[in-house]
Amino acid sequence: MRKKISSSKSEQISSYILLIPTLILLGIMVLYPLIQTAFFSLYRIDLLKFSERTFVGLKNYIELFKDSEFIRSLTTSIIFTIVVVPIQCILAFLIAILLENTFKFRGLFRTIFFIPYITSTVATAIIFMKLFTQDGLLSKFFSFFGLPNTTWYTNLDLALPFLAFIYIWTTLGFYIVLFSTGLNTIPEELYDAAKIDGANNVQTIRFITIPVLKPFIFLILSTAIISAFQVFDQAYVLARGASLGSPAGATMTLPVFVYAQAFRYNRVDHGAAAAMILLLLVLTITMVLRGRFSDDSV
């Protein structure tokens, strides 16, 4: 006979004890400042007279949308994401398929591809800054393809492509591993059946791999979009302590704009409003894509 154990009052209490440290830390370090951000975004704040803030309603938001620098940072983030995510995902997907069909050294290759992802973003950004200075190895290399031999991250046209390049280089291995994990869930029999039916490689990918992988693809896509939208470290580093977003705002993504407003231009109120917009965008993207994802997986 099995003794039934009901969750008694003391059990309830002790399980809340287990939650206390997490609730306190996240509450003070994340949730409270999050609410403050929403609050700040509705006030005019002068840092010198912090206590004398005045409520201005949505004025900060209205000012932001009239601020060409903000609009530009929003556009920069969107363009960055639209360019980076497809390259990232398609490359990672193809490489994952290539690895799946490779038997020798598969683990070794996957390990090597992953190294850029686990090393410091600051360190790798600095290495690439050396490689992409005028007469640097990669600047020279790309000049054979018609690009100017110049310092990429100080060039108005090349700074954002430079950021995209190092961002993709850093994160590609991560997405390869995600796609590989997805591919591993596809049963061998499906491929065998396709082979018997005489499907070629492209047909197999089109009619077997992609449909089976669909829930994974949405999940990976949403991760990729949200991460690309939040690119910060590399943009901060390549500005070289000068004004953030340099040269002349070319690498000013939305997260960098938030940071610059608050910590460089002392516009805490505008920074907070921009942070709320960033938050709203990230939440919307997540809801839309994860929503699709859960519909598909049911």
Partner: protein, 270 residues
């Protein structure tokens, strides 16, 4: 034909592998050069550890190392303990309050750091914690993903095990510390790997909270090193190698574990 296909496949993979490794080998090579040799291809007899010694005179990199090791250890430990505790509580005796807390954790997981960074900075200053280890540790003492990870893991543990322990007279805390925690080694190691890497490489929090070079972490120190000595690439590259070497060494030993650990962050399950 088939052979040619397989050859070209390996060719592509090898080119990609070179693209991944080349920047690291390049920085290693430059870091070993004499400053006057920069930009030239020199033989092994012209390589030395000069820059690695020189950097110790220029900046307190030893101190940065200790800072980074200290906060990485504390944050990893605090996650192993607190995130596991929370994950366990959330996996058991589901109540409505706990569901709300769990939704909250899921929400915090996808929060961009900029959404709370500005007030967090002012609070840290206000509490007198700027330029202290606390300002580096407390904001990341709980990685919400670790709580999520532990909850998912504890859900897979058979309930009978705990029931048996309870019959033996263990209270809920006893069950957690004596039964559940020892059984969750795979999830704990995943968590340790993630907290270690995230904290070691972390940049936004330390660069915001610290302006006293005695409290820099390696990444922040490296960034200022680059700003001060940008025209001295051999020194920069030595700083880069100092920063990434520990992670690379850990990675070589735990490669499979590490790739799997990060796969969970993208796919949300173990």
């Amino acid at each position: 034909m088939k052979k040619a296909m397989s050859m070209s496949k390996y060719l592509v993979l090898i080119i990609l592998a070179i693209a991944c490794l080349f920047p690291f080998l390049y920085s290693l090579y430059i870091s070993l050069q004499y400053p006057e040799d920069y930009g030239k291809l020199v033989g092994f007899n012209r390589l030395s550890l000069t820059n690695y010694k020189k950097i110790l005179e220029l900046v307190p990199i030893g101190r940065w190392y200790l800072n980074t090791i200290l906060i990485t250890c504390v944050v990893t430990f605090s996650n192993l303990l607190f995130s596991s505790m929370a994950g366990y509580a959330l996996a058991h005796s589901i109540s409505r309050v706990k569901n709300i807390i769990f939704m909250l954790i899921l929400g915090v997981m996808i929060l961009p750091v900029q959404a709370y960074l500005i007030p967090l900075y002012f609070n840290i200053v206000h509490w007198g914690l700027q330029n202290t280890y606390w300002s580096l540790i407390l904001p990341i003492a709980i990685y919400p993903f670790c709580v999520f990870l532990m909850r998912q893991y504890f859900l897979t543990l058979p309930k009978e095990l705990e029931d048996a322990a309870k019959i033996d007279g263990l209270g809920p805390l006893g069950v957690f510390f004596r039964i559940a925690l020892p059984l969750s080694k795979p999830a704990l190691s995943t968590q340790a790997i993630l907290s270690f890497t995230w904290t070691w490489n972390g940049f936004v929090i330390p660069v915001t909270m610290i302006n006293n070079s005695n409290y820099y972490t390696l990444t922040v120190g490296l960034n200022t090193l680059k700003d001060f000595y940008f025209n001295w690439p051999t020194i920069d590259m030595a700083g880069v190698i100092y920063t990434i070497l520990p992670i690379i060494i850990v990675f070589i030993f735990l490669q499979e574990h590490i790739t799997q650990a990060f796969a969970t962050t993208g796919l949300g399950h173990i």
